[in-house]
């Protein structure tokens, strides 16, 4: 694409193409950021400004205070927020404890059924959720797991487990096995070789996977929507609840949505490097 030797005609053409490309990019990103800007603006509007203004209004944090119950009106939002936190963290931890050894085994050993295990886990990722939810709703009521954090953590494994195992397997598979072998011959047991050699080098990847799994668990809607009612209800479900009722206050809905969307967006900043591999389940190495 060198234009050094090209004539002025060609150079002019490529400049026009460059401008057009930049314009197209800007249009796409306006589209991409429009709902975000809109929802933030709406969340800062007083009731009377909701329907009468677009961008020019006196911003207020009252909606956030109301949603968080800081104005003395009482609110369950903080409880929902904490429930999201508990179930997401719990789901990631369970996936990690169970998934790390399985991912390691699948990457390091050829053993009977390892492919079956991996594809069973992957099929969880692609299975329609209601297929499991309907029987689970019945089973959970029998076991007393309906509307509990434990029940949520269990069902969220459908979201976090395939992610953790598949991505970590790709990390472990990329990890040179001879480093571990060298540690074995240096006199470390298998467990110590793993802790001393593999773990320090895979740790950033594991951290990224945890964050990504957390984000997906946090963002999940259908499981808490169908399998909780109040005590384990998460913030994604509660956001929808604000839309119901007779008197909808859109600015409150917006404030709730902004706060619920914030944790994943903040965490996403830390996983840029591993995003491609994470999103594609290790199929594409970014």
């Amino acid at each position: 694409m060198s234009t050094e030797h090209a004539g002025p005609e060609v150079r002019r053409k490529s400049r026009i193409a460059g401008t057009a490309a930049n314009a197209a990019l800007i249009v796409y990103f306006l589209f991409s950021l429009l709902p975000i800007v809109f929802i933030i603006a709406l969340s800062l509007k007083a009731d009377r400004d909701q329907t009468t203004t677009y961008l020019w209004f006196a911003p207020t944090l009252d909606n956030y205070r109301t949603v968080l119950g800081l104005d003395g009106g009482g609110s369950s939002y903080v409880r929902f927020f904490l429930a999201s936190l508990t179930t997401s963290v719990g789901a990631v931890l369970v996936s990690l404890v169970i998934g790390v050894p399985a991912a390691y085994a699948a990457a390091r050993y050829r053993f009977k059924g390892s492919d079956n295990l991996m594809f069973t886990l992957l099929s969880f990722r692609f299975a329609p959720e209601l297929l499991v939810i309907i029987p689970l709703a019945v089973i959970y009521r029998q076991l007393g797991l309906y509307d509990t954090a434990v029940g949520m953590i269990w069902v969220l494994q459908l979201v976090t487990m395939p992610l953790v195992v598949w991505i970590l397997r790709s990390f472990f598979a990329d990890f040179p096995v001879e480093l571990e072998e060298a540690a074995l011959l240096d006199g470390y047991s298998r467990r110590r070789a793993f802790v001393k050699v593999v773990l320090p080098l895979v740790r950033p990847g594991i951290a990224a996977v945890c964050l990504l799994a957390f984000i997906f668990a946090w963002n999940n809607f259908i499981f808490p929507f169908t399998l909780t009612s109040s005590s384990a209800q998460t913030v994604t479900v509660s956001s929808l609840a604000y839309l119901g009722g007779n008197q909808v206050r859109f600015n409150l809905v917006a404030a709730g949505a902004v706060m619920a969307a914030l944790p994943p967006l903040v965490l996403a900043l830390f996983i840029q490097r591993y995003l491609v591999r994470g999103l594609s389940f290790g199929a594409v190495k970014g």
């Binding site: 694409m1 460059g18 490309a21 197209a24 990019l25 800007i26 991409s32 950021l33 709902p35 809109f38 929802i39 709406l42 329907t51 169970i98 050894p101 085994a105 390091r108 050993y109 053993f111 059924g113 390892s114 295990l117 069973t120 886990l121 099929s123 692609f126 299975a127 329609p128 959720e129 209601l130 297929l131 499991v132 309907i134 029987p135 689970l136 019945v138 089973i139 269990w154 487990m161 195992v165 006199g187 298998r190 467990r191 793993f194 802790v195 963002n219 999940n220 809607f221 259908i222 994604t236 956001s239 809905v253 949505a257 619920a260 969307a261 967006l265 965490l267 999103l279 594609s280 970014g286």
Partner: protein, 322 residues
Amino acid sequence: MSVTTPSEVDHDDTPAGREEPGSRPPTVSRRRRRLRPYTLAVPAVLLCVGILYPFFVGVSYTVFNFSAANPNPAFVGLRNFAEITTSAPFWNSVRVTGSFAVTATVVETVLGVGVALLLYRGGILGKVLERALIVPLMVAPILAAIMWKLLLLPEVGWVRPLLAGLGVTDYTGTDSPLWAFIWSVVVDAWIYTPFVAIIALAGLRSLPASPFEAAAVDGAGWWFTFRRLTLPMLWPYVFVAVIFRLMDSLKMFDIIFGLTTGGPGDSTTTLQINAYLESISYARYSRGITYMVVLWAAVYLISMVLVGYLRRLQNRTAGEAT
């Protein structure tokens, strides 16, 4: 390695190197060595069993007439399947599910590859915008649906004035069947175009430079380079994204539920929405899960075909590389 066999723990701290000559080093039998990977995988297998159990329970519901109104179900054979496959709502939701998934996947793929190509050009603008690319993808789909629902509301949203500025005066939001469908696709594309773009961008960055240099030396035009080089070499990457998007949009629930709840009428009632209405709203469990088993079977078959194609694609690319 949370699971270790007892003997490995025992020997962990034995300074065998200093053992007196003649003393036997600790041994691990062949059987135990062979069991090692299985020991590591056991918890994951148990977890799979724990998740497959409700799945099989669910599948067994399909041959009963289980519902909240009928807690002691009777065996009905394949009647559920027969009933839904002769019912109009089922075929309507098959149509809606299929057209939603295909439209959304195509739009996201084309748009995503386009965005990736534009970002690949680099420049300050590209670098800044690439950072922002991920934002919609990290927003919970249900929250995205809520944001868009508000954005589209004629009372508070910005879409009506924006369209009015473009001369559209008969804006109805999601009240018409066609526009409810279109806006659902738009929201899906809003979230997931970055997904395709991120993977395509990674693909672009990993393409070998030499064919492009050769094409530039030969004076090949932009379109030729794109058609004959970029696209074929990028396709295996893009196809990974296509598989994810098609599979995900076949079972998309959050966006449609949040935006239209399947309406107006049944114009955006996908199989998952229908199953939700049947089993959760009307508590007809057997009926609802029959929808899901059909969807699952379809997803499974489609994924088999697509993954098989992906394997061939990757093998072919690998073959060309060597």
